[in-house]
Every structure is written in structure tokens, then in C-alpha cells.
């Protein structure tokens, strides 16, 4: 995993962990990433799949990927 991808995985997990108390944590995580990440970052995390991601983060990425 490249340094940048590792960074993105950590960011996604951090976002998911801090949004755990939202009514739908995966949806909130997906929304956050949609609003603040640039297209290449999103593409990189989509291509990464679920590797290294927490359960909520993985669900968020999966949902976001399906949406876009």
C-alpha cells in the first residue's frame, strides 16, 4: 500500500470512528468523504476496496462507490 493510500485509509477510518454516534454512521461517513475529498482520492479508496478499513468505513466506501 502506497503512503498516500495508507493515509487515505487512516483518514477514512478516523472519519468513521468519529461519526459512530450518527444515526447512520456509514451514510454520514460516505457523505463526509463525498463533500471533502477530491475525485482522485475517492478513486484511490474505491480501488483499494475494504483493505485496512473499519466496518463502518468499508460500508461507507462501498455505498459511495455505488452512488458515483
Amino acid at each position: 500500500m502506497s503512503g498516500s493510500l495508507e493515509h487515505l485509509v487512516r483518514m477514512a477510518n478516523q472519519i468513521a470512528r468519529n461519526l459512530e454516534h450518527e444515526p447512520d454512521p456509514a451514510a454520514a461517513t460516505a457523505e463526509h468523504i463525498q463533500l471533502y475529498w477530491d475525485p482522485r482520492m475517492k478513486l484511490m479508496i474505491f480501488e483499494n476496496g475494504a483493505a485496512g478499513l473499519s466496518e463502518i468505513a468499508a460500508a461507507a466506501i462501498s455505498a459511495l462507490k455505488a452512488r458515483v
Binding site: G3, M11, Q14, N18, E20, H32, L35, Y36, D38, P39
Partner: protein, 947 residues
């Protein structure tokens, strides 16, 4: 305008709403109750002679020059200490008063050097003026016993003290006490032996506790305390009101000039942020503007190991445009980006982000707020609906409890700190939440009721434990919450914070704050009257920076401390225009006024004005740009007024990112550290050389006015416009006012802002629009901007940065009073006498364990890198915690900080780095290599001699 001293009404304004009518010299005058006779007279245009009185200080009544006669009263009371009364009849000019005043003046002059013609204050001396006003023509007293011929104190780099010229009026002492709140000066001795002393008799000004704010110099009615520049240049002949370019307080000054030469910066009494006060930086540290290291000609080079070549503006800009276009064509438009500056004006910042969005064709624009207050924007927008603080600075005058968390205002925001300290001396209670024992915790006449010295990285745990106390002890302002907040969200939050795992007792092992202290602090904040929270980068620069901002907002809402004077949530912004840079659309996901780039209606508005199509996707943040650069897909960067190599975390990573780019354009005053990796250098202009506006931490938009011609030839907005034109954009602004007009057309919260109004009003606090035509000093008065206030559950998540056997200590970083940010400006002034190097503060126990003494060189190492600096052993830091500043490039504290960041905004986690300290006998390998590389990089090729 022609030079006129600022008006001085003699005593402070009364804020009473009751009006009193009296007669002065046969004219009726009506003033607020509590006004002095002196001020009432002055307001109707009658100047009563005075020496010890000035309207920035409480009346004192010592000089006996302002005597008046009042019908029905015996004697001749001092007009400065006599309040007006209804029906009072006052006479300010009578033969008896003239005789008394002349006698008093004669005594003063008998012990004053009669060197007016060669005195630095000739023509700007109140003693001289008053001698004339009372008609003194000769002095009958023999000069037997006098104070003449005493040694001058030249120790302060910015002002001289000549005791021979002192009239012992105590204005300097009172200014230090009342205005600055340092209490460094005193009157030593009594009667004829009275002498102004800075600290002990053995101290000079430099060696004393004086913080060089300049209040004493401003208050002095003679040349006893006088700016060295006035001695050197002479008295000013004109003045221009402008706004300071240092911290986010946004002090306004009169730039007092002789021709194009700046003589002095004098705080403007009508300035609504500073109310006539200043600090050492704004008042004195502006010499960098003419520093010999300033670059005045554009330069280019083919590679970063080559020397710079000076070129014409046309050549530099054509080359820059050509490179940007080449890279866009070769790598795609998303390979370019730019960084706006919180040190530049709103208009300049707006143009840079416009250049990137409309010219580069992407949203890869970010700003230095990324590394300071981006969590403030996120947190306050989420909870309240506005990415800004809620109060004006005047509001602190009505606070009963002041909670300062993660801020060191006496160093970082000194002028506001003085105003806060004034309120604390009046009896407001103080809670400080900070790992360090900052000066505010205990200083003259001030002592915090509670200092919660938490372990770095546990802000959220502390604030949640405070919320636990407030909710479980039923201290919530139920009426406020019911009326103003979303009740479902409140109930979720209240249930969460009430859990036992969030109690002060349970969290004590994590926060290291005794539960009883934390509970007491929470009770005080909730029940002590008007509670105001002030915070700084100790809140935002954490992995949970945004959560901490929201936890603060939760506390304010739960206790009803929002929407009126004396309360609120107040981010103390770091740089002068952090608020403005954020307002202007400098973030990659939003346009000016904090509207998301994906919003079709907003984007269409800008597209219509700019005549281009805008990318609907957010762009890259600074750390993401650097990641993309090391990945080989981000190739060009335009940096205006920032030095990311020194200011951003994990220097090695920043350097690697910059080195991987094909075109780095640095637009700055100096060859800063980032310029070591630049290919094009565009020389910038100082705040003294440009027109525009800054927006301070109160959302106050204030004019910046050009007082001299730019040494580099152009104001910064002109340079950005020329770059845009070179890239083919049809921009044709002729003045920054036109840029502000465009901002107002596009930004609802700025709809009513224009330069004419700013000239009339002095300043305006946004939002300024149809609903608030005169601006908005206090936000969320009748309701939150977002509708209902939003409580957010802020679960404490420990940082991934862990101490362990290799790195057992926690490093936190910050600022010192005399230096500013990366020091590019202040290191090039005489402020270096107070801080010539970054020092590492370490607790005696940790120092003892490592065999370290104060002054020793130590190695500071983390998993990111290592550097060396000298140690200061002090109990200001707790055991297990070390602290340093980041003002000097050769220390480069950010070699040590990591790339961990806030979960919501990527604001770096500067405040928590696991480190080890050990003795050192020389610079680190990085420092040696960096010094060589920086030296090589700054070479400028000699121009060829003309034939």
C-alpha cells in the same frame, strides 16, 4: 491627511444612559452621567489645561493644572476628578485660575530641560503645549535641586527613557497597570525623589518585565518615553489609519509618516478591536518592510539547485503562465493548485482562489487556515450554522466567567488579552484549560479559579466530563435549550454525556485532571453568570480538533451562553486575516461565504459572474496536494504569502512533495524556506504598500490602506491579476474596491460591504446585508443561523500518536509574544532581542532524569525526525510534557511533528507528538544538510554588466 494628534478628552467616556445638563463657560452642555467636567468641557470644544490626564486612563488628579471654579463650591476642584452634576455652572478660564495654573506650570518647567528646539518631541509635547496654553513666560526659581542630567535608558530597542524629562505624572505607570495590565512600571521614592522605574531600581527597561506594548510611550506627555524612530527621523507630518498585519485581533493603527518614511505606528483610539492599545509586534516590529533581505525583483530558475536569475516582471509572469499552461496540458488541469494567504487581504485572497478555480480550472485551492482554524469552520458551522466566532471583543467587558482553553492570549493575542485581564481585575472569574501554566494562570492581580492542566490530546474528554457534570447536576439552562436547540439531538447528547464512562472521575486517569477540580470548573461556568469561552490552536490542532470545537459549542448551548453580550464561543484567530481568507472561499470544497462547490445554484452564480464553467468536485487540501505530488500527479503550485516548508507538519514530507513538482511559484516578501524548492519567485508587497481589507477574529472587516509606494513595484492583487492576464484571463480590476464589489455581489454575508461604507464606519462586522445593514457584533441573538442549535455527540477518541519506551514524552508547540508564526517578519526586526532562538521547555523532573540543565543543547526526536535546540528547565510544563515554539527555521520544530491530523479537516495534530529528549553536542544531520541546501538555494546570479 495632515498630521494631527489624536483627540484626547482627558478622561474616559461614560457609558451611562442618564444624561446630565450643565453650563461650562456660559454654554450649556449635555453629557452622560459620570462624565468628568474635563471631558464635558472638551466635548463642547473647551480645552482645560492638563498633564496627568488622558482619556485612555482613569482620572488621577495629581498635576493640579486642570483646576476649575464651580459656582456654589469652595476652592478650585480638579476638573478631571469632578463628575458633572445637573445644573452645575463651571468656569474654566478666570484670572484666579490663570494665576494658579501658571504657578503650577512654573514649578514643572523649573525642573525640565529647556532644550525644546533639539528635543525629539518638539512640536508634539504636551508639556510644551500646556506651557503655551497657560501663558508661561519666565521661571523665577533657581535651578539648584533638579533632576536634570540623569542617565538615559536606551536599553529597549524601540524607545528611550530620559528621566530628566519626566514630570512624574504617572501616566506611564497607570498605562502599564490599567491598559496593558503588566504592572511592570512603578514610581519609586516619594516627593522630590519620585522616579519612574521599570521593575527594581537595578533593572533597565529591557531587563524588566516590560512587554514593550508601547502604552507608556503613548501615554507620556513629554519626551521622557519616546520612540527611537522619532529621535532618528523626526516628528511625523501626516498619518493614515490602517490595520495591523500580525495576529487575528486586528488592531488599527495610525501609520504616522514623513513623506514615504514610516516614523511610527500609533494605535488608533477609535479602533473598535483594540480601543487604542497595541503590542510589541504591531506597535514596533514593522522594520521587516525595509529589511535588506527583502526581494524586490522577480526571479526564475530552471531547477532548484541552480542560482536565481533576476528578470523583468513581464518575463517572470510570461514564464509562469507558460509553465502552468504546459503542465496543465501535459498532466491535466488537476495537476495544478495554489495556496492563499491569511496574511494577505481579502481582495488578494479572493483573486488567488478565483485564479485557481477560473484559470487553473480546478478547486485545488487551500489556505493556511488548514493548519490552524479549519476545525473552527467545520465545528461552528455544524453546530451553529456559521463558521465564525459569535462575539465582538467588547463583549468580554460583560463576562462574569471566562473560560480559556488551548490559548495563550498574553503571547498570541496580547491586545485582547489586556482587555480580558482588565475584566478579570474587575472581578470576573477565570478557568484555564491548558497543559502549560500560561501567564494568564497567575499574573499580577489575576489568578485563575481553576487551572485544569490536562494531558495533551484529551480536550474532548475534559469537555465531555464538564458536560457530564452540567447535565447530571441539573445545571442545564432548560429554557434556552427548549427554545433554541433541536430537542432530539439534545436528548441524545445529554444521554451520552450522562453515562458513567464520561464522568470526571472515570476520565481522570485519561485527562490527569482531578475530578473535583473539573466538577468545580464546570459548575462555575454553568452558574457563574455570563460565561464566555475563548479558545485557540490548542483546541483545533488535534486529531479531534473539530470534535473539540463542537464540544465547546455543546457546553455553550447547554448553559444558554450564546446570543447576548458577555457570553459566546470565541476562536482567537492566529493570523491577521485567517477569518477573511476562510470567508473568501479559500477552502477547496467551498466558495466565498462557505457555500459548497457542489451546490448548483451557487456555482451558477459564480459561473455567470466569471464567465467560466466551474468544477463541481472539491479540490485537494494542502496535505493531499503534497501526497499527490509525491505520487507524481500534482506538478505545479502557486503559493502566495505562506511558508509551508516551515509552518506545515512533517517537514520531510513537505520537502519531498515540493521537490516532486515541476513548477513552484512563491509569491512572498523574502526567499522563505518554501522558496528553496521554488522555480519562480514573485516579490510581494507589505501591508504598508497596498489597499484592501482584513477581517479579524470578530468578523470585523477593516481597511488596509497604502501608506507608501510598493518597493517591489506592485500591490499583490496586481501581481495575481497580471499572472491571470498572462494565462489569458480578461481581468481588469483597477482598484481593490472593485474586487470587494464583486465579493459583495457573490457573497450574501458581504452584500452590504463596500469601501465607501468602510471609510465611513471604520469597520463592519459580517454579516452585513439587508437583515443586518450595520453588521452583526453578536451572532445568533434571536436564533441560530442554521435554525435550531445542533448538539453533537463528541466521543473521546484517543490519538494514534502514542508515547512509549522510544518516545516517552509529549511535545506540544506554540508561540511567544515577541515572535510571529514562522518568524519571517519578526525575525527581521529587533524583536530578536527577546527571542533569538526556539527553546525547549522541559520539567525539572524530566530534565534531571536526562542530565539536562537550562541552556544545554538537546536533541528532540520523534518518529518523523529530529532536531536540536537549547533547553529551558521550567515548571510551566507538567512532567511528561515538553514545549517549544516554531519561529526559527534552523530549529524547525516541524521536522519532529507528524502527519496525523484532525479527522474532519486534516488540520495537523501539532499539539501532540511523542518525543524523546537527550543531551546533544551539535546540530542534527538534518539541520546540517538543510543549512547547506538553503544556502545554496538562495544564491542569486550576478547580473551581467552592461556593455
Amino acid at each position: 491627511m495632515t498630521y494631527q494628534p489624536q483627540s484626547d478628552f482627558g478622561t474616559p467616556e461614560s457609558r451611562s444612559t442618564e444624561q446630565v445638563t450643565l453650563t461650562i463657560d456660559g454654554r450649556e452642555v449635555t453629557v452622560p452621567a459620570g462624565t468628568s467636567v474635563m471631558r464635558a468641557a472638551s466635548e463642547q470644544g473647551t480645552s482645560i489645561p492638563k498633564l496627568c490626564a488622558t482619556d485612555s486612563l482613569s482620572s488621577f488628579g495629581s498635576c493640579r493644572l486642570c483646576l476649575v471654579e464651580i459656582d456654589g463650591r469652595r476652592g478650585t476642584p480638579a476638573s478631571c476628578t469632578t463628575p458633572v452634576e445637573p445644573g452645575m455652572v463651571v468656569h474654566t478660564q478666570t484670572p484666579h485660575l490663570a494665576k494658579l495654573r501658571k504657578g503650577v506650570m512654573e514649578l514643572y518647567i523649573s525642573d525640565h530641560p529647556l532644550d525644546c528646539l533639539t528635543c525629539a518631541a518638539n512640536g508634539d509635547c504636551e508639556l510644551q503645549d500646556q506651557a503655551g496654553a497657560v501663558g508661561l513666560r519666565d521661571v523665577r526659581y533657581a535651578a539648584d535641586a533638579t533632576h536634570l542630567g540623569q542617565a538615559k535608558d536606551h536599553s529597549n530597542p524601540y524607545f528611550d527613557f530620559d528621566p530628566s524629562k519626566c514630570i512624574a505624572c504617572s501616566r506611564c505607570v497607570r498605562a502599564c497597570d490599567e491598559v496593558q495590565g503588566t504592572l511592570a512600571l512603578t514610581v519609586q521614592g516619594r516627593g522630590f525623589d519620585s522616579k519612574i522605574s521599570a521593575g527594581l531600581a537595578s533593572d533597565d527597561f529591557l531587563g524588566s518585565e516590560c512587554v514593550s506594548c508601547g502604552a507608556c510611550v503613548q501615554a507620556c506627555p513629554t519626551a521622557t518615553l519616546v520612540e527611537k524612530k522619532v529621535v532618528e527621523i523626526g516628528t511625523p507630518e501626516r498619518s493614515v489609519v490602517t490595520t495591523c498585519a500580525y495576529c487575528g485581533v486586528g488592531c488599527t493603527f495610525r501609520a504616522e509618516m514623513r513623506g514615504e518614511q514610516l516614523v511610527r505606528m500609533v494605535p488608533w483610539k477609535d479602533g473598535k478591536a483594540n480601543r487604542g492599545h497595541s503590542c510589541v509586534k504591531g506597535r514596533f516590529a514593522w522594520g521587516y518592510a525595509q529589511h535588506q533581505e527583502r526581494i524586490l525583483k522577480p526571479m526564475i530558475r530552471s531547477a532548484i539547485d541552480q542560482p536565481w536569475q533576476e528578470v523583468s516582471w513581464d518575463e517572470a509572469l510570461t514564464h509562469a503562465a507558460s509553465e502552468l499552461n504546459r503542465i496543465s496540458a501535459k498532466y491535466g488541469k488537476r495537476a495544478l493548485g495554489g495556496i492563499t494567504s491569511s496574511r494577505c487581504t481579502n481582495e488578494e485572497t479572493f483573486l488567488v482562489q478565483k485564479l485557481i478555480r477560473a484559470g487553473f480550472g480546478n478547486n485545488n485551492v487551500d489556505t493556511c487556515a488548514r493548519v490552524c482554524h479549519s476545525p473552527t469552520g467545520y465545528g461552528l458551522k455544524t453546530t451553529f450554522g456559521t463558521s465564525a466566532g459569535t462575539q465582538d471583543f467588547d463583549s468580554v467587558e460583560e463576562s462574569d466567567v471566562i473560560l480559556v482553553i488551548g490559548a495563550n492570549p498574553t503571547d498570541g493575542h496580547p491586545v485582547f488579552a489586556s482587555r480580558m485581564k482588565k475584566r478579570l481585575r474587575q472581578g470576573a472569574k477565570l478557568i484555564v484549560i491548558d497543559p502549560r501554566r500560561t501567564d494568564l494562570v497567575r499574573s499580577p492581580h489575576i489568578e485563575a479559579q481553576h487551572h485544569l492542566a490536562l494531558r495533551p490530546g484529551t480536550n474532548v474528554a475534559v469537555l465531555t466530563a464538564m458536560a457530564h457534570t452540567i447535565v447530571t447536576e441539573r445545571l442545564v439552562n432548560d429554557a434556552f435549550v427548549r427554545e433554541r436547540c433541536d430537542m432530539d439531538e439534545y436528548r441524545d447528547w445529554a444521554e451520552f454525556v450522562s453515562q458513567e464512562r464520561n464522568s470526571p472521575e472515570t476520565l481522570e486517569s485519561i485527562t490527569q485532571v482531578p475530578a473535583s477540580d473539573l466538577r468545580a470548573a464546570a459548575r462555575l461556568y454553568a452558574t457563574g453568570g455570563n460565561g464566555a469561552i475563548y479558545y485557540g490552536l490548542g483546541v483545533t490542532e488535534h486529531s479531534q480538533g473539530s470534535s473539540t470545537v463542537m464540544a465547546i459549542a455543546n457546553l455553550a448551548m447547554a448553559t444558554g451562553n450564546i446570543g447576548r453580550r458577555g457570553v459566546g464561543v470565541n476562536p482567537l484567530r492566529g493570523q491577521n486575516n485567517v477569518q477573511g481568507a476562510c470567508d473568501m472561499g479559500s477552502f477547496p470544497h467551498e466558495l466565498s461565504g462557505y457555500r459548497h462547490i457542489s451546490d448548483d445554484a451557487t456555482r451558477r452564480l459564480f459561473e455567470g459572474e466569471w464567465g467560466v464553467s466551474l468544477d463541481a468536485e472539491p479540490g485537494l487540501r494542502i496535505p493531499n496536494m503534497l501526497d499527490a505530488a509525491t505520487d507524481g500527479v500534482f506538478k505545479a503550485l502557486y503559493v502566495q504569502g505562506e511558508d509551508i516548508l516551515q509552518s506545515d507538519p512533517n517537514t520531510h514530507h513537505v520537502a519531498a512533495g515540493l521537490a516532486a513538482m515541476e513548477c513552484v511559484i512563491v509569491h512572498d516578501l523574502f526567499l522563505n524556506e518554501t522558496a528553496n524548492y521554488a522555480h519562480i519567485f514573485l516579490p510581494g508587497s507589505t501591508f504598508l504598500e497596498k489597499n484592501g481589507t482584513f477581517t479579524n477574529a470578530e468578523r470585523r472587516i477593516q481597511p488596509v490602506r497604502k501608506v507608501m509606494t510598493p518597493l517591489n513595484g506592485y500591490e499583490d492583487w496586481e501581481i495575481t491579476q497580471k499572472l491571470a492576464q498572462a494565462m489569458g484571463l480578461a481581468w481588469n480590476y483597477t482598484h481593490p474596491s472593485e474586487i470587494m464589489d464583486e465579493i459583495a455581489r457573490l457573497t450574501p454575508s458581504f452584500a452590504g460591504v463596500n469601501f465607501d461604507r468602510l471609510d465611513q464606519e471604520g469597520s463592519l462586522q459580517w454579516p452585513v446585508n439587508e437583515a443586518a445593514p450595520d453588521g452583526s457584533p453578536i451572532m445568533h441573538v434571536d436564533g441560530f443561523v442554521r435554525g435550531k442549535g445542533k448538539f453533537v455527540v463528541t466521543d473521546y477518541v484517543p490519538t494514534d500518536e502514542k508515547t512509549g519506551p522510544r518516545f516517552p514524552l509529549l511535545l506540544t508547540t506554540g508561540r511567544i509574544l515577541s515572535q510571529y508564526n514562522v518568524g519571517a517578519q519578526t525575525r527581521r526586526t529587533d524583536n530578536v532581542v527577546w527571542h533569538e532562538e526556539d527553546r525547549l521547555e522541559i520539567h525539572p523532573v524530566d530534565a534531571e532524569n536526562r542530565g539536562i540543565k537550562s541552556g544545554d543543547w538537546v536533541k528532540l526526536a520523534s518518529r518523523a525526525g529530529e532536531t536540536t535546540l537549547r533547553a529551558t528547565v521550567t515548571e510551566r510544563v507538567a512532567p511528561g510534557v515538553v514545549y517549544t515554539t516554531f519561529h526559527h527555521p534552523m530549529t524547525q520544530a516541524n521536522v519532529v511533528t507528524t502527519d496525523y491530523s484532525d479527522w474532519a479537516t486534516n488540520c495537523p495534530e501539532y499539539k501532540v507528538t511523542a518525543v524523546q529528549i537527550s543531551p546533544s553536542n551539535g546540530p542534527s544531520e538534518w539541520q546540517t544538510e538543510y543549512e547547506a541546501q538553503a544556502s545554496m538555494s538562495r544564491r542569486i546570479a550576478q547580473a551581467e554588466a552592461a556593455e
